[in-house]
């Protein structure tokens, strides 16, 4: 933080910022390894918001307007996506650094959220399909080639604002473009809201796993007998209170027993960028502890 802030003010040079990024990434990787996580992230440490590197890769106009990121005190630059959409012309800054161990996770905005958060003069569902085919798919392919076995699509839009019934079909079409022949697990993660009302539709999406925010969603509304994986957001990325290990393990067991997903992934309910680093680190450790305990219980 100090380095990037200093860079903006002309008080720190670019080399010092690069060194700080490398140091922070190395620390984050060590934390994930120490915590026993199964899939490794680069934490999107260089991403100023979830759209920025994609907008850069698109060669789209530099985004100007700041827009509140849902009900947080964080803001993103509204992507300007009017007119015909060009494809991405490079993947610079979009893939995890080579120092991140494999298997890796690639985190990207869902095409639905991307199309809704952008400023555009186009039909948003058509934009969504274009974003999936021309922007996200090339990046996903590059990510898989770079060792990402999990592609995690973030969609707080559906959780927070909802989705009109007519939009599910175009969303399925967009996700099909991402899922077809993909040699990685594709997860679609709804957060910042109650996924309960959408569970039936979510389970019909052409993805391998559905993520839900369990801080906002009732575990009893998830149904049972899933033929997909479940990314269970059991760690609250917006609260500094550390979750009880026992409680978290019990929730995970309950999900395994009742929802019976094809695979159960334990995760935070949303990104951890809303937490100071020291708090986020504690949460990652708690996630690892919970996963380890659940694995022990399941293997018994």
């Amino acid at each position: 933080m100090a380095s990037t802030r200093g860079l903006d003010r002309g008080r720190v040079n670019a080399d010092a910022v690069e060194a700080a990024f490398a140091e922070d990434l190395a620390a984050f990787v060590r934390l994930q390894q120490k915590s026993g996580l199964d899939v490794f992230s680069d934490g999107l440490l260089r991403w100023q918001d979830i759209f920025r590197p994609l907008v850069d890769a698109l060669g789209a106009a530099k985004p100007e307007s700041l827009v509140r990121w849902f009900d947080t005190n964080t803001f993103f630059r509204e992507p300007e996506l009017s007119g015909a959409l060009a494809g991405v012309n490079h993947a610079d800054g979009l893939l995890p650094d080579a120092s991140v161990p494999r298997p890796r996770v690639a985190t990207l905005p869902s095409p639905f959220m991307f199309s809704r958060a952008a400023r555009t003069d186009r039909d948003r569902n058509q934009l969504m399909v274009d974003l999936a085919g021309k922007v996200l798919r090339p990046v996903v392919d590059a990510a898989v080639a770079a060792g990402c076995q999990l592609v995690h699509l973030e969609d707080p839009w559906i959780g927070y604002f909802g989705i009109e019934s007519k939009d599910w079909a175009p969303l399925r079409e967009a996700l099909e473009l991402l899922h077809r022949d993909l040699r990685a697990t594709l997860a679609f993660h709804v957060y910042f809201g109650d996924a309960g009302p959408h569970v039936d539709q979510l389970r019909r999406l052409p993805v391998d796993a559905i993520g839900v925010d369990l801080v906002e969603t009732d575990v009893n509304e998830l149904g049972s007998g899933w033929d997909k994986g479940l990314v269970a957001g059991v760690i609250d990325g917006r609260s500094s209170m550390l979750e009880s290990l026992e409680n978290t393990v019990e929730v995970a067991r309950h999900l395994a027993d009742t929802v019976r997903p094809r695979n159960l992934y334990l995760s935070s309910n949303c990104e951890l960028a809303f937490l100071p680093t020291v708090v986020a680190e504690q949460k990652v450790q708690r996630l690892g502890e919970a996963a380890k305990r659940v694995k022990q219980l399941v293997s018994v």
């Binding site: 860079l7 609250d236 100071p276």
Partner: protein
């Protein structure tokens, strides 16, 4: 607040923060000062006609600084910022919050009941420090008295004191006191109900036990206009009544002009909740960020300002602090663009006395050079609007 100022058509003011000069930041942090820092202090001192600025230059040459000297440097920084705003021609000024760490951190670090947890990103490479409420909240010591007393002694223009509001402090804090027993196995609806009740307790405790006594202390020192800053007010659309309740609990029965500052939100959300905020005599609201940069006074030319009709229709007829400068961009709004934004608003309100003219928010993300140019063009644009409206350009 004087009656004259309250009703001055197209009154101009800044919102709050300005960037802190390099010499102030480095000197306070004990870092070595470069010739460039000294030249910055000299050049701005000369340009803004800061009285006796040579004394600051002399002081800056004598590092390391004692605690008293650091306080002195903060006051110099306040004086420079005040003179920048006066030099830009603003009617109502303050000191760009030069003596505060930051609008949130300053408040919680002078309060009992909070513990710092660390920094998080706000946007781009901008961060803020978050604290958690862990114990009963109270005012440790009035935390704007010293700066206000100093500014009264050096300001030529009227003063307006920005004070961070209760809702925003709660919204930007973690809660480790009111809502702590989360069990994800409980029905989500029950958890949400508990969270909402806890949030109400949290916000209103800040309003009653922290903000209100701080406002009373300022009024005791002669403060006449206090701006309650609530950039977080619309963060939770289902809590706008709580925001209004917290404002009312903070100011009810106190004798000063109170205004509030809102920014970077869907302002439609504030209605009808703010119809109950009758002690709020002015809403300072950022619009330029959402507006076109083309000239014109039609609805089509001013897409960022359509919502002002709702403020115009508020039953208690508050003024609108019209944000006309995008504080997230180095783009310098021309006087003509400012003029057209102002004329559009005057046309909607039908009364220039209800329009005040401001930047969208504090200018601390801009360099002083950019901030000064923007503010000068803002006052120049207001002069053009006055001309267009046939208003006298009264002496301050």
């Amino acid at each position: 607040m004087s009656v004259d100022l309250d009703h001055k058509p197209l009154l101009t003011h800044e919102i709050g923060s300005l960037d802190k000069p390099g010499w102030r930041v480095k000197a306070y942090a004990g870092q070595p000062l470069s010739d460039r820092d000294l030249e910055e202090a000299r050049a701005w001192g000369e340009r803004l006609k800061v009285p006796d600025y040579e004394r600051l230059i002399d002081l800056l040459r004598h590092a390391p600084f004692s605690k008293e000297q650091k306080s002195d440097l903060q006051r110099w920084s306040s004086l420079y910022a005040l003179k920048l705003e006066e030099g830009a021609g603003l009617d109502v000024v303050y000191d760009g919050e030069q003596q505060r760490t930051e609008m949130y951190d300053w408040a919680v670090s002078h309060s009992d009941g909070f513990e710092r947890r660390g920094s998080v990103r706000a946007f781009d490479n901008k961060y803020y420090t978050k604290a958690a409420v862990v114990a009963p909240i109270s005012l440790r010591t009035p935390f704007h008295n010293a700066e206000f007393s100093y500014l009264v002694s050096v300001a030529d223009a009227e003063l307006k004191i920005p004070v961070t509001g209760a809702y925003t402090i709660a919204d930007w804090s973690f809660d480790e006191r009111y809502d702590v027993d989360t069990d994800l196995r409980e029905p989500a609806a029950d958890r949400r109900r508990k969270r909402k009740a806890a949030r109400r307790d949290f916000v209103l405790e800040i309003a009653r036990n922290l903000i209100r006594p701080n406002l009373m202390a300022l009024i005791g020192l002669g403060a006449r206009w206090i701006q309650v800053d609530e950039p977080g007010a619309s963060t939770e659309p289902d809590e706008l009544d709580l925001f209004v309740d917290s404002f009312n609990a903070s100011v009810e029965g106190l004798n000063a002009m109170f205004s509030t500052h809102l920014c970077f939100s869907d302002y439609n959300l504030f209605f009808p909740a703010i119809e109950r905020m009758s002690q709020c005599r002015q809403f300072a609201v950022g619009f330029a960020n959402y507006d076109s940069r083309e000239l014109g006074t039609t609805d089509q030319a001013r897409p960022g300002y359509h919502v002002i009709r709702k403020f115009a229709d508020l039953p208690y007829k508050p003024a609108l602090g019209l944000g006309v400068l995008d504080i997230h961009s180095d783009f310098i709004e021309s006087p003509e663009l400012v003029r057209d934004r102002v004329l559009y608003a005057v046309n909607v309100f039908g009364d220039p006395a209800r329009i005040h003219v401001t930047p969208d928010c504090g200018l601390r993300t801009r360099s002083w050079e950019v901030a000064f140019k923007k503010l000068r063009n803002m006052t120049a644009g207001v002069a053009l609007a006055r001309q267009e409206l046939g208003l006298k350009d009264p002496a301050r």
